[in-house]
C-alpha cells in the first residue's frame, strides 16, 4: 500500500514552514513560508491553510509571482482559524493545499490602462497584480491604484503604498472613511476616487477586490465611466471549504467560486450579485 501523496491527492496538505512574520496592523499579519516543491502561482490564486487541530481556511497569496522561493500570505485575525494562524511564529508548521483558483488576467491587460480598486484587506489579493505591473511597467498604459480603508491606522502595506506613489509612473490615491485632523489624504469612499482618476475607459482593464458591496459600487462606477463589464475583474470571496469544487459550499449560481473563480468578470457576476440573499 502506498502512502498518500499531496502532489496527487488535492485534499492532502503539504507541510509549510513559516520563515518570517510581519505585523501589518493590530489584527493583520503577513507570513512568509517555505514549501518543498512549491510549483509557483498566478496572481489572484489562493491556498487552503490549515492549523492542525483547529481548521482550514482559504487565504489569497499576496506576494510576487516572480519569487517562487517563498509563499506570502496576509491574514486578518477575525475568526477561530485565522486567529490561530495569526498567532503562529516563525518556525511553526501548518498545512497547505494549493494554489487554487482562476487568476487575475493581468498579462491580458498589457498595452492597456489599468485601474486597481481595493478596499480594506482587499489590497492583499491585488498586490501580486501590482508587482507584475511594476516589474513590467513599460508593457502597460496608465496605472492607477485606488485604495480605501476604514481609518489611517488601518491602512495596509503603508510603506509600500508610499513607495509606489513615489515612483511617479503610477497614480496612487488612498482614502479613508474617517480621519483625525492631522490626516492629509482623502476622506470619503474609494468609489468617489474613480470620478477623478485619469484613464481611458474604452482601453482600460480594472481589477477590483474588497468587501462585496464595495465591489458592486466600484464595478457600477467603472461601467458608468465607460469601462466594459468584460474588462472589469473582481475577486469573490465566500464560504470556500474544499477549494477544488467538490463540496459546493461556495456555489454561487452555476459557479463554484473556488474552482471557477475566485476571479470573475463583472459581466458574469453582475446578474448573480443582483439577486438578493444569493
Amino acid at each position: 500500500m502506498h502512502a498518500p501523496d499531496p502532489h496527487t491527492d488535492p485534499m492532502l496538505p503539504v507541510i509549510a514552514r513559516i520563515t518570517r512574520r510581519t505585523r501589518e496592523l493590530s489584527d493583520v499579519v503577513t507570513f512568509e513560508m517555505e514549501v518543498e516543491g512549491w510549483p509557483g502561482f498566478e496572481p489572484g490564486q489562493f491556498n487552503m491553510l490549515a492549523v492542525f487541530g483547529v481548521g482550514e481556511i482559504p487565504i489569497s497569496i499576496s506576494g510576487p509571482v516572480s519569487d517562487s522561493s517563498k509563499i506570502i500570505h496576509t491574514i486578518r485575525d477575525v475568526g477561530p482559524v485565522s486567529r490561530a494562524l495569526a498567532a503562529l511564529e516563525p518556525g511553526a508548521v501548518l498545512g497547505l493545499r494549493g494554489p487554487y483558483g482562476a487568476p487575475w488576467p493581468v498579462k491580458a491587460a498589457r498595452g492597456r490602462d489599468v485601474v486597481v480598486v481595493a478596499g480594506g484587506l482587499g489590497l492583499a489579493p491585488v498586490r501580486p497584480i501590482l508587482y507584475e505591473l511594476m516589474e513590467n511597467r513599460d508593457a502597460y498604459g496608465k496605472i492607477t491604484l485606488l485604495y480605501g480603508a476604514r481609518s489611517p491606522s488601518e491602512i495596509l502595506f503603508r510603506e509600500e503604498l508610499g513607495a509606489w506613489r513615489s515612483r511617479l509612473d503610477m497614480g496612487v490615491e488612498v482614502t479613508v472613511d474617517r480621519a483625525p485632523e492631522d490626516w492629509h489624504g482623502h476622506v470619503g469612499v474609494v468609489t468617489a476616487l474613480l470620478r477623478a482618476a485619469d484613464f481611458a475607459p474604452a482601453n482600460t482593464t480594472a481589477f477590483v477586490c474588497g468587501p462585496e458591496i464595495m465591489i458592486r459600487f466600484a464595478a457600477n462606477g467603472l461601467t458608468d465611466l465607460g469601462v466594459a463589464a468584460t474588462d472589469i475583474h473582481l475577486s469573490m470571496e465566500r464560504n470556500m471549504q474544499c477549494g477544488i469544487g467538490l463540496c459546493g459550499h461556495c456555489q454561487l449560481g452555476p459557479y463554484f467560486l473556488c474552482k471557477d473563480g475566485p476571479v470573475f468578470d463583472w459581466a458574469t457576476m453582475k446578474p448573480l450579485m443582483r439577486i438578493k440573499e444569493l
Binding site: S82, G119, L121, A149, R150, R178, E181, W183, G188, A196
Partner: protein, 155 residues
C-alpha cells in the same frame, strides 16, 4: 481677472464642462478667482452660505467639530470638486466647516448673484440645477456607503 478668462476656467471645470457659452458668460458675471492658504478656513458652520466654490486645485477638508472629539473630517474635496450646496437652500447657512488642507485655488460664485440669475432665467436655472443635482446625489450616495462601514472586520 477678465470675464473671458473666467469663462474659460469655468468651461474647463467638470461641473460646467458642457455648458453653452452664453450660459457660461452669464455665470462668469457672478464668479471670481479665490485662493486659500494651507490650513485656513474657507467658511465656518453657521455662517451665511454666500458662495459656491468650484475647486480648481488643492485639497479641502469638510469638518465638524465636537467637544472631546476635535475636528472630525467627514469628506475631502480636491480639484474638479464642488464645495457648498447650502447656497441653494434656505436659510443659506453652512452646516459644516471647510478648511484648505493645502494651498487651494477655486472659483467662488456669489450665491445671491447666482440665485438671482437662475430665478430670472429659468433655462439657466435648469441648466445649473441639472449639474448641481448629480453632485448632490453623488454626495448622498457616498455618505450612505461610508455609513455602511464596509471595512469592518467580520468573520
Amino acid at each position: 481677472m477678465a470675464i473671458e478668462g473666467l469663462q474659460r476656467i469655468l468651461a474647463g471645470h467638470p461641473l460646467f464642462r458642457d455648458l453653452s457659452p452664453a450660459f457660461l458668460d452669464m455665470l462668469a458675471g457672478c464668479a471670481k478667482n479665490v485662493r486659500f492658504a494651507a490650513d485656513t478656513y474657507m467658511f465656518h458652520e453657521g455662517d451665511d452660505a454666500d458662495f459656491l466654490y468650484l475647486v480648481r486645485d488643492g485639497h479641502a477638508a469638510l469638518e465638524i467639530s465636537a467637544p472631546g472629539h476635535g475636528r472630525m473630517v467627514f469628506q475631502t474635496v480636491s480639484g474638479g470638486g464642488v464645495i457648498g450646496l447650502s447656497w441653494l437652500v434656505p436659510p443659506y447657512r453652512w452646516r459644516f466647516d471647510a478648511r484648505a488642507k493645502e494651498d487651494l485655488r477655486a472659483i467662488a460664485f456669489d450665491a445671491k448673484c447666482l440665485r438671482g440669475k437662475c430665478d430670472a432665467d429659468p433655462a439657466l436655472g435648469y441648466a445649473v440645477m441639472k449639474r448641481i443635482l448629480p453632485a448632490l446625489v453623488d454626495r448622498l450616495h457616498d455618505t450612505r456607503v461610508q455609513m455602511l462601514d464596509l471595512y469592518d472586520a467580520r468573520p
